[in-house]
Assembly symmetry: D2
Homo-oligomer: 279 residues x 4
């Protein structure tokens, strides 16, 4: 699928502020950047770094007081791998690559240690690896209300599990938590997503199964083949699209992700395993 | 300093269990392994992996039901870098290496986002980087009781801050949390420690300051020049000495860390900055 | 039913300590005290007070350093009201007595505000009042493991709901929390219980339904007609069998509750509504 | 002091809703109601009940769908007892009235059990009873930011202690928690307050000291002699000005509390102990 991304962030800065952006799409065999353009107004020096272990592309800038507008435009080709879920099992712990192991451990927003009794009781005996994670997503979809404003930056999956409401980030955190809790590595994915209403940054997650990392989205808000990865991480703590040290006012974001061609495959959460590969 | 480590772990396994050990000392310019020996009884195949980004040495084994005894013996030479604290400042965010940035973010046991108001109010204006982290350690030492049994595997620094009691792991988590909260990267260190009474695995932390990573120990239980690093991580979630997937009974540990020579420099928490460098 | 209670508490006191006991059985139309005897060794002056609004009988003593042994023996006749559950509905909020209203509010261990979304989704449409609370008890029994040592004095129903393990006190707290969350007043009951293995103080709860307060026990550990009320309260915070201000070592308790006659009616959690009336 | 209260609450009700109001000022020897008037538009039948143990005046109404406006106007005479703080000590546990004891126990928003180690370390040895509670208020004032929007209905003193920000209700909860933690009974007070900017319902707390209940306000936002009690309770859970069961939109409140005469005594938090007596 071809898609176009247009992202505009505006910041009003009151004191010199260090900003770390993570809004540029990842590059991989299954996600080609055909064209992209980054600019800041007023023009500002930036340093960019692509993390070798994650593919995340961080860009750092020092903002002087005043209004700053950041533009990122890109044209992407998404070539997800699609497999029948019945062939995508879990990998035994003994066979997991060593660098995947950290994604089994609890993190700030995903305290998988605390939800393990529930996860084992509810999901441990359901199907193969992919079916198990799908069952987790189905459970979240059935039991948690998608409710704007119901959570904030301190909300962990522990809270979402109990309060039963959240937004995409909370759905992803709870999915990661329950997946790790049954012994399957999982990680957070921030993304651009076609067909998301209203348009905004999206959050989904990946589970490490037979053959690599597979996408899951418990919100069912957009098709999995229209997900363009920006960043991966243990959870939202290390995958924010913007981190700043100083004083600026919250970004009124302008975001457009447009499908340019390609068949829409839906609903992804029932029939196919989707992987954007890489890393 | 030369020191000898002797570690013996015993496990009674009831079902086939995957075990990931992280008990072998790190190798670095400032921590030389002069001699070491690992063995298991009954003899068991293991796979070992040294993580390039951390230097952690993981060893994986599959344990069949029965009693298993694990031995690790090593002779280490510790050559810490010692500097006057007045020369060890904080690094501006804009100048931090990109791969150090994740150690600014909150993690499972170190929710630095939630303790930021307190940390800023209390520590932000105290001295240069090293002095600031020392002030944090002093505050912890003065306000938190070291109390065996006062915490468990789910205790985060958020709890320790309020409950005011913990063990070495909790002291390290709270130190990391407050250090990150004032904008200084910090990470967890599991270690062998000479002169620790009673002998056990120890937990301390490192802050990233001018010139690299520096050691801190808010417990004041042992000299910083007698710390031999085993693993580093964001917090205890990814630095455990043993992680298992299956069913085994808790390890009655036998641990001896013996100083073989070298001058003892104390008390490290007031006069010198100590670094074990690396990574 | 006739039953005999024998309770012996031993305390080793190191500094002068104020002790408030609440171990003497309540008196009511449905719980007759045929005989009772309280004594302390060494003999100590005590003041006793029966709270008019709860019927709880508090006894206060000042203990000097040394060993103190407290004896309470009683012979009780329990005359519970037994009704068919189908006739026991919920009382509309508008018709609840004013003094019952506080039992709708969240308390220390029963944060009903936070579990309301789950409770409404799961239980709001199930049967009449008694059947609804029974459904809550059945859910707890099916989803929470009774596990000695899995909780402590700071564990709230919020934790038990997530961690899925607890003891009788946690089962009662979770029952109260979910019951309040669907708009039915509920309160904590500490009790002597026949047929409880091992013998110990027991915790159950009552819900306010048509006709008064009805007993529920999500643990299914003993028959409801063998429950002798000691104290009622919002939760364990105000219904402890002993509260002290000073320094004493935990009570090695000796407890015997013996059925002297009367038919055993079981299992109460499926066929009958049981009330011990009063207050 | 004479003061006039004018309170207007507007509710838009979508389904039949049971409303429990608690906005009518308490009556006591030290708080005289010279005149008062309650009305609802459209006219609605209400039942009113004055709780004997608290003096709280609850009014219950069933609201049909549509807009409802509630008016309460009163003219009050406040005759607080003023004493030199040096004469107001703590009451030994052994001498506390039995009905005051529940105010030593933790409640939903005031988990005094969890903050006890901090409270003992910080306040246990400071002055007599009144001075100790004043020290607690001073600590809160110095360490917690008054910040509108920084908390919500689920915020407990455990959170406020760590997050270091809150509104009047949070200041009161933290004050109650720390006071109970050092062994002094404390309770929540909802109130009308003169000179509060902006005008709103206020929350303060009372501690039980020698001679009865004394007022404290860690916010320092208004003079203690201008506090008119509405309700007392363990915490905000049982002292809300409005509780409803149904569906209505949040009340745009209109509140005016006007000083009609009388000397203003300030700042109360440093020189005098103030009691509104009663109950």
């Amino acid at each position: 699928m071809l898609c176009a991304v247009r992202c505009e962030l505006t910041y009003d800065v009151t004191t010199t502020t260090d900003l770390i952006l993570n809004i540029e799409a990842q590059r991989s065999d299954r996600q080609h950047i055909l064209d992209e353009h980054f600019s800041m107004s007023p023009q500002t020096a930036t340093a960019i770094h692509e993390m070798p272990e994650s593919g995340n592309r961080y860009r750092r800038a020092r903002l002087e007081p005043g209004r700053h507008v950041i533009h990122y435009d890109a044209k992407l080709e998404l070539v997800p791998q699609l497999r029948d879920v019945s062939g995508v099992g879990a990998v035994p712990i003994a066979d997991l690559p060593f660098d995947v192991l950290p994604h089994l451990y609890p993190s700030r927003y995903c305290p998988s240690d605390r939800l393990a009794p529930f996860a084992w009781r509810e999901f441990a005996n359901l199907g193969n690896g992919h079916e198990k994670v799908q069952a987790i997503c189905n459970w979240i979809y059935d039991n948690v209300d998608y409710l704007a404003g119901s959570s904030d930056g301190s909300t962990s999956a522990y809270d979402t599990f109990t309060l039963r409401a959240g937004v995409c980030r909370d759905f992803a955190h709870l999915g990661i938590t329950l997946t790790r809790a049954v012994g399957i590595p999982a990680r957070f994915v921030s993304a651009y997503a076609v067909d998301l209403v209203p348009q905004d940054f999206h959050a989904v997650f990946e589970a490490y199964l037979d053959g690599g990392w597979y996408l899951f989205d418990a919100t069912r808000l957009c098709p999995l083949d229209g997900i363009a990865k920006i960043a991966i991480g243990r959870d939202a703590a290390d995958s924010a699209f913007a981190t700043y040290f100083g004083d600026l006012s919250g970004p009124p974001k302008l975001l457009e992700v447009t499908r340019l061609d390609g068949p829409r495959i839906e609903p992804q959460w029932t029939t196919l395993a989707v992987s954007l590969g890489a890393t």
